[in-house]
């Protein structure tokens, strides 16, 4: 259980985080979104006890970070931005060091190290020094050190930044496979990541909370939510479609071969209407699908001008 109340951080006159509150319970995977400089990393640094808040409190399982820093730090796994690690150590030495600091001993330590190295697939670079690793491997080493003690709270600052699509997929699978009694906070710029792995989403900009809810609610804010996109083999006359009461707007591409039909807010019969029209007018439809909502647009709308 994480309880954050009115968290604020000033750097001189600059307000990095402004009166942020949230409450997370076990099983929550929070996607923490925002433009660069929105205060995501600063918030994470305060939750992990690296920075002291100017005002407000962070409580994890009823313990206050300022009163009980060691107990809280023990229950958190943290991947800082850029996955810093001691470059002169080999991967094996580094993970061994972290395991020692996390208080793992004997068989338990061996077992945890083995599992983590397997799940992040580090076996092939175990005896290379971290300085010589590729970006993807460095990120994975950072992930490994964050989960080595099986923490209750996992805080990942841009875990997939700079990874290739395969590695991104792997990291997402890793997060999904974490047991369901954990609290995970992930900051990211990649919106699809939020719908892929998170069950909660929060958008901040200028240190202020702009949205909080499920990724589905976020998608529903898009004007393209429940819109229908149709591809045609050749342009067709759209007049009959425009006349329908359930259609709010139609967007076309330059060649007029692809349209997106935006429904009226209350309409739920759009699909069958389009299907019937296509049949009557014998439209050369090559593809027809429903849109989930374009998160990029929602993100831009919410954060523009903040």
């Amino acid at each position: 259980m994480i309880q954050i109340n009115n968290l604020t951080k000033h750097f001189g006159d600059y307000v990095a985080v402004d009166n942020l509150s949230m409450s997370l319970k076990p099983g929550d995977i929070l996607g923490f979104l925002g433009p660069n400089g929105a205060g995501k990393s600063t918030t994470m640094k305060m939750i992990t006890g690296f920075l002291q808040p100017s005002a407000g409190t962070v409580e994890i399982d009823g313990l206050n970070i300022e009163d009980q820093p060691l107990a809280i730090k023990q229950s958190i796994g943290y991947l800082p931005e850029g996955a810093p690690a001691y470059g002169d150590m080999t991967v094996a030495q580094f993970l061994d060091f972290i395991a020692d600091v996390r208080g793992l001993q004997g068989n338990k330590k061996t077992e945890r190290l083995r599992r983590v190295i397997n799940s992040v697939e580090l076996k092939s670079v175990l005896h290379k020094s971290i300085d010589n690793l590729s970006k993807g491997f460095k990120r994975r080493v950072g992930l490994a050190q964050a989960i080595i003690h099986d923490p209750k709270v996992l805080i990942l600052d841009e875990p997939t930044d700079g990874l290739d699509p395969n590695q991104k997929h792997q990291v997402r699978r890793l997060i999904q496979n974490l047991s369901s009694d954990k609290i995970v906070i992930i900051s990211t710029h990649i919106l699809e990541e939020v719908t892929a792995v998170c069950n909660r989403a929060m958008i901040i900009a200028g240190g202020k909370k702009l949205f909080e809810g499920s990724p589905q609610t976020l998608q529903a804010k898009s004007q393209f939510h429940n819109a229908i996109t149709i591809h045609f083999a050749e342009p067709v006359d759209l007049a009959p479609l425009r006349a329908e009461s359930s259609v709010a707007d139609i967007k076309q591409n330059a060649e007029l071969t692809q349209i997106t039909v935006i429904p009226q807010a209350t309409a739920n019969t759009l699909f069958s209407t389009i299907y019937a029209l296509a049949k009557t007018h014998d439209w050369p439809v090559t593809a027809l699908y429903a849109e989930q909502g374009r998160l990029d647009d929602v993100f831009r709308e919410l954060t523009a001008g903040v």
Binding site: F50, K73, Y86, M89, S129
Partner: protein, 244 residues
Amino acid sequence: MNMTKILFKREFSSFFATPVAYVFIAIFLILSGVFTFYFGNLYERGQADLQPFFNFHPWLYLFLVPAMAMRTWAEERKSGTIELLMTLPITPLQAMLGKFLAAWAVLGLALLLTLPLWITVNYLGDPDNGIIFAAYLGSWLMAGSFLAVSVCMSALTKSQVVAFILSVVVCFVFVLSGSTMVISAFKGVVPSVLLDAIASLSFISHFDALVKGVIALQDVLYFVIVMAVWLKAGLILIERKKAE
């Protein structure tokens, strides 16, 4: 396992994973050899002691210790590992002690490797080994004081070069304050109480007493206090400025 011990282990092996420890030890041994035999005339003096060897130590440490310690915190800041370190379940004091003790152990190791000199004078003559032991102890304590200053300066900045220069300057003040040059410059200008205070701040006056074979509590305590004060200052700097 105790946290300070774990951190000590990491820092100590890091000195040997990078060439820092080897370079430091090699240069320390070569320079102390050169100073002892070439400038110190160990043989020509015709006395079986290590006085010429120890006399140059403050000047060796003045440059070598800051060079060795400049990375201590500056590198953690520069590479961002400080964020990792400070969010692990350890206290800043444990981190500071682990780092300091590891570097101090490397300095001790360098001193231990000069033991062939001690064997030589024992072979050639009949020195007072009690004096030599006191001098070794004094040298190690003084090295620790140079180190504590340098670690504190390293906590001040991200740049290792800045840390090095600041350390040398501050250490130089501590070395020089007891020299005849400074003392005679202040003589007659300031009251003698203040003059004594300035002189007693110097590493050299306390070190000289130990090199002569007198292990006085006040000299040992002086070095211990210098180390404690500078490490505490470094700790405050790190806690205040860790995120900058």
